[in-house]
């Protein structure tokens, strides 16, 4: 085995073991920053020793044992502790906790992971800090990988992570699974972080770094892990269902030269049936748990309407419009209204859709939102109002930052009035 080979093998072990390792260590030392440092120490030791000795039989246990030794070493060296007695007391306590941790490791590891997710998605942190910390601690991405994926400088991500860990330490955020009404709010923060990661990956285009599209995989994996940790939470399954179904279209949504292919124009034969089936199963779980009307479950149900339709013409638009009605009631937003208008246009004709879209034209938050003129253009075109449609597509093109999307909108503008839709 060459040095590169064995480093890659260690990387793979790390990816599997690191979240559990950090979670277990956080329980022991009660500080997520210190826990990550200790885990990193263990990784350094592995990188030094494994190429020679080979990967141990139980690499997770090896990493944990090594990290715990480092914890004791650090504590002994810790000069901030003033009294020797106090230090000894803490060491004893730590050793006891470690012994207990050993006994509980197999049963508690899931709870620890869940606690770690709640910490890294804590509302005390800014959303972008939650995202960076979660990818780092729970998806084992390096700071460099996160920076590449989000198209920001490495120093920015490093800063975000350092600050986030400091904030958590200073606020003494407890390492626990929240209960009661707090659980709902905290869970929704976790779900939001995972979906943010997914959407960032979904927005990747052909020329982007592969790390970026990889965010979809990271989010899916996090979502599935969370579904295993909190199987009774319907919205977790709703979110996983939504992501699985969206991921099922990833091959079909980009054309041969990297151009965007809209949902209704996609070759459904290229949709991944495995992801669709998994997504439908997750949605069903959410519904069976009584969560059919949760925001993620509703969005998954809408995605499922498309997934179930064999052709675009088979789409049950009336059902989609009804699901958007429910979604708009649950979380009223101009973007949801716009989507509802599009569904209504498909279900009950372009005039009905346009009537709803026109109500949104003066909406301040949609002023620079390219999908508004794009949807309006689409409806106008169907009503035969080509000149107005062309102007809307051109306006939409001028508003989008995404080159592929701009190309598509300009193509549509050029096609207006030529009988091509």
């Amino acid at each position: 085995m060459t040095a590169t080979d064995s480093h890659r093998a260690i990387d793979a072990v790390w990816r599997i073991e690191a979240p559990r390792l950090i979670a277990g260590l956080t329980r022991i030392v009660r500080d997520v920053g210190l826990a990550e440092d200790l885990a990193q120490d263990a990784l350094v030791a592995a990188l030094e020793q494994w190429p020679e000795s080979g990967v141990p039989d139980n690499p997770g246990a090896w990493l944990m044992a090594t990290a715990k030794h480092r914890a004791i070493d650090r504590l002994r060296r810790d000069e901030r502790l003033e009294r020797k007695k106090e230090q000894l007391g803490r060491e004893l306590q730590l050793q006891q906790e470690m012994a207990m941790a050993d006994d509980n490791i197999s049963t508690d590891v899931g709870d620890d992971l869940l606690r770690l997710m709640f910490i890294s998605c804590h509302p005390i942190l800014a959303p972008e800090a939650r995202v960076a910390l979660t990818l780092r601690l729970l998806a084992s991405l390096t700071t460099e990988e996160i920076a590449r994926a989000f198209l920001v400088p490495v120093a920015t991500i490093a800063q975000r992570i350092v600050r986030a860990k400091r904030t958590l330490t200073e606020a003494r955020v407890p390492f626990e699974v929240p209960t009661g009404p707090e659980l709902t709010a905290r869970m929704s923060s976790v779900l939001q972080v995972i979906y943010l990661v997914f959407n960032e990956g979904y927005a990747a285009t052909a020329g982007d770094d592969l790390m970026r599209a990889g965010l979809c995989e990271d989010a899916l994996r996090l979502g599935r892990i969370l579904a295993g940790l909190a199987p009774k939470e319907p919205e977790v399954h709703g979110l996983v269902g939504l992501m699985e179904i969206q991921a099922s279209r990833s091959r079909a949504r980009v054309g041969p030269s990297g151009e965007i292919v809209l949902l209704l124009d996609q070759d459904r034969g290229r949709w991944d049936p495995l992801h669709i089936n998994r997504g439908l199963a997750s949605l069903e779980r959410a519904e069976k748990l009584g969560g059919a009307l949760g925001p993620y479950a509703l969005q998954a149900a809408i995605a499922a309407c498309h997934a179930r339709a064999r052709t675009a013409a088979d789409t049950d638009w009336a059902r989609i419009a009804a699901l958007y009605d429910a979604l708009a009631e649950l979380m009223p937003s101009p973007v949801v209204e716009l989507n509802r208008a599009v569904a209504v246009g498909m279900a009950f004709g372009p005039a009905a859709g346009l009537e709803l879209v026109d109500r949104l034209v003066s909406e301040p938050s949609l002023k620079a939102y390219h999908l508004l003129p794009s949807a309006r253009g689409d409806l106008l075109e169907k009503l035969g109002r080509s000149d107005e449609a062309r102007a809307e597509f051109e306006r939409a093109a001028s508003l989008t930052q995404n080159v592929r999307e701009r190309d598509l909108l300009l193509r549509r503008a050029a096609a207006c009035g030529r009988g091509v839709s």
Binding site: R8, A12, V13, R15, I16, D57, R221, I225, L229, L274
Partner: protein, 112 residues
Amino acid sequence: MPRFLMYEIDDKAVAGNTPPSPELMAEMGKLIEETTKAGILVATGGLGPNSTHVRTSGAKVSVTDGPFTETKELTGGFALVEVKSREEAIEWAKRFRKIVGDGESVVQEVFG
């Protein structure tokens, strides 16, 4: 999303058709649970003992029932995993091998 198919190959003439022990089944159950909880297992299944080969040669199609003693055959079961890298798939295959004992597994990337 990189997907890898992992399956066991075996020489059936040697292995025979002994059913797996309850202990092995329990260990396998744990591994399936672990990979599911790790968010990587997307499909898995066991394979029946007898395979049938369907061959074409020109216009001729021949159907032959196994077992085929001259070749190693896919046996036991398979797992389809979604992971970041081949190395990660190999790491999971190693964990599988530690449970099932002597034998051989194949890890192949699945495209499309």
